[in-house]
Symmetry: C2
Subunit: 368 residues, 2 copies
């Protein structure tokens, strides 16, 4: 079995073409990871996700911890077998969801106690048990447990929060059981303050993670702030490890972040928007319920060759959406996932060709 490794193959400006090798397969970067919250990428078969080019999916520790439970998944053979996805899986630490979904949460130095949003039961997540849950799930990439600093936050609040996350990162690292081909990523915090981001990155580097993530962005700040902070954070990160921008984002965010030197992304947008009838296309957003598509016999995206665009009209997709049909979410999610994967392929090829700046500039003229 291979070691967990990252190879930097080529650079184009700050952008990086790379390859991550793991126990469950290789990942070509820059990469977008479809989100499989509750052990399923909503509305898609796993083979479909893979056929569209995805080499890794994300699972949510918070959700799987609460239902069906990591111990059950471990007894059943791990998350890969459970959800029929043999490829690499990255699990988040549960930190983000515990702040956005759980009830009556209480943060102490030890961790976060809360009540389940499903049944109200009392639970706790700590750096140690978050790491253990992710091991039980058999996550290829484990994330350190952190607090996602809210936005906006004063410098004092951001500093305090970041420093606790760094102490938690150390405890997470200690709790991580090394296995060949598995890795653990540390998460940089520090809000919108470059000096705190720098302090955070230094703390993480001392723990020598297999990769580093930028946390605490895409939390409500303006697009320009996201782009600016992404650039600042990426510049602080070591060259020889994968760089993961968590929870981002719109296609245009991905383009700008790849240009800034980020390697990995995840976001619910392509799947959630697909279910809600919104498509990302080469011509911008298509809101399929709009009356103008009533008799539109053209494909969702004339420049896309995915299953949805090859076989169905906008008129049909509008009908399915208005009728509340499952196939609506299935076909729209398929297209959006195809769109995101095709975009990442375009960006990787642009780096190979040394033309990323040109390609990115053109893309940013039309996409959302």
């Amino acid at each position: 079995m291979t070691d967990f490794s990252f190879s930097l193959i080529k650079k184009d400006g700050k952008a990086r073409l790379g390859k991550i090798k793991t126990a469950h397969g290789e990942i070509d970067t820059p990469v977008f990871m479809p989100v499989g919250t509750a052990a399923t990428v909503k509305g898609m078969r796993p083979e479909e996700v893979a056929e569209l080019g995805a080499q890794i999916v994300l699972g949510n520790t918070y959700h799987l911890f609460l239902r069906p439970g990591h111990e059950l998944i471990e007894r059943l053979g791990g998350l890969h077998k459970f959800m029929n996805w043999p490829g690499p899986i990255l699990t988040d630490s549960g930190g983000y969801q515990v702040f956005s979904l759980a009830k009556l949460r209480k943060i102490t130095e030890e961790g976060v106690s809360f009540r389940s949003h499903i049944d109200g039961s009392k639970k706790m997540l700590t750096p140690e048990n978050s790491t253990e849950i992710q091991r039980a799930l058999d996550a290829t990439i484990t994330m350190a447990f952190d607090e996602c600093t809210p936005y906006p936050a004063s410098v004092e609040v951001a500093a305090e929060s970041m420093r606790m996350s760094m102490r938690w990162a150390e405890r997470s690292r200690k709790a991580f059981i090394e296995r060949k081909g598995y890795g653990q990523f540390g998460i940089m915090q520090g809000g919108m303050y470059p000096h705190l981001r720098e302090e955070s990155m230094k703390a993480l580097e001392e723990l020598d993670f297999e990769g580093y993530a930028i946390g605490g962005l895409a939390v409500g700040e303006p697009t320009e702030k996201l782009a600016e902070m992404t650039g600042i954070c990426a510049d602080l990160m070591p060259e020889d490890k994968p760089r993961y921008l968590m929870g981002v984002g719109y296609p245009s965010d991905l383009v700008r972040s790849v240009v800034a030197g980020v390697d990995m992304f995840d976001c619910v947008l392509p799947t959630r928007n697909g279910r809600n009838g919104n498509a990302f296309t080469s011509e911008g957003t298509v809101v399929i319920k709009q009356a103008k598509y009533e008799e539109d016999n053209s494909p969702l995206d004339p420049n896309c060759d995915c299953y949805t665009c090859k076989n169905y009209s906008r008129a049909y997709l509008r009908h399915l959406y208005r009728s509340g049909e499952m196939l609506s979410g299935m076909l729209m999610t398929h297209h959006n996932t195809a769109y995101y994967q095709a975009l990442m392929k375009t960006l990787r090829q642009a780096i190979v060709d040394g033309k990323l700046e040109e390609v990115a500039t053109n893309l940013l003229k039309t996409i959302r």
Copy 2:
């Protein structure tokens, strides 16, 4: 282009092996037709439906008339193109749904006026416009417009209802535009009264439809009554035309009805029950939410080789169902559709082998 034809290939007792040839392809009978109410078999891609062995699907005139409208579908190239199903499509006449779904309906000799269950708009269905709607949809098999006699009904009510349906059948037949490879089926009514069924069948035969259906069963009568009346009706039907038992049924109903000489079936059970977490299996019904499946790593049906059974455990399917995941409905519907298609294949093979009685007896010991 081929004529619309039915060939009776072999008989085994009263059971019949046959082949229907149509403008859109051939149909091996006995056949089960998955229901594609609103131009989609809920939760499935059309290719998936075909791969499982289905050669014809059903569309609902009532639903498509109200949304998105038959004229729109005609302008967009017909239902086959609209829903990406190039094979044969049978459309019902709208008669059944107008009685079960529409509001403020009023029946006159002319037809049924009602208010749409979707937006309350005033609509009317008559033998003439039902036939025209089905033509506009490009239905391979058009059904005559009828009144589904309720159960129970007195002999007077059943007779009056049936006789109106026969007058409507004549008007439907007159309104049908012949096209090579297309057919129209008349629907027998008469409630639970054999002499009325006989009168109905005679009236229909004079109109020389391309096939005949048994209507007004599976409307709440006990299973034994359904079986008894199916046998009586099938015996009244001509040998040289397809016989279609509408809206039936459970797997055991299909077995008994094939033995009685019925060729065609449709029912929402496999798809609806799939969405509701109930599976038809070789070992009986599996209600996937039950706690006993929590750690069950075995497939939904150990004797099934469908995609769902090859790749997922009951434990995973239970998790998906409890989590309200789309993939739950997708995988369960896939299995149920596979189950129904495999059952029909088994029955056809049993007729080929001249062993239907033995096969049916064995099946009826275990299936629902």
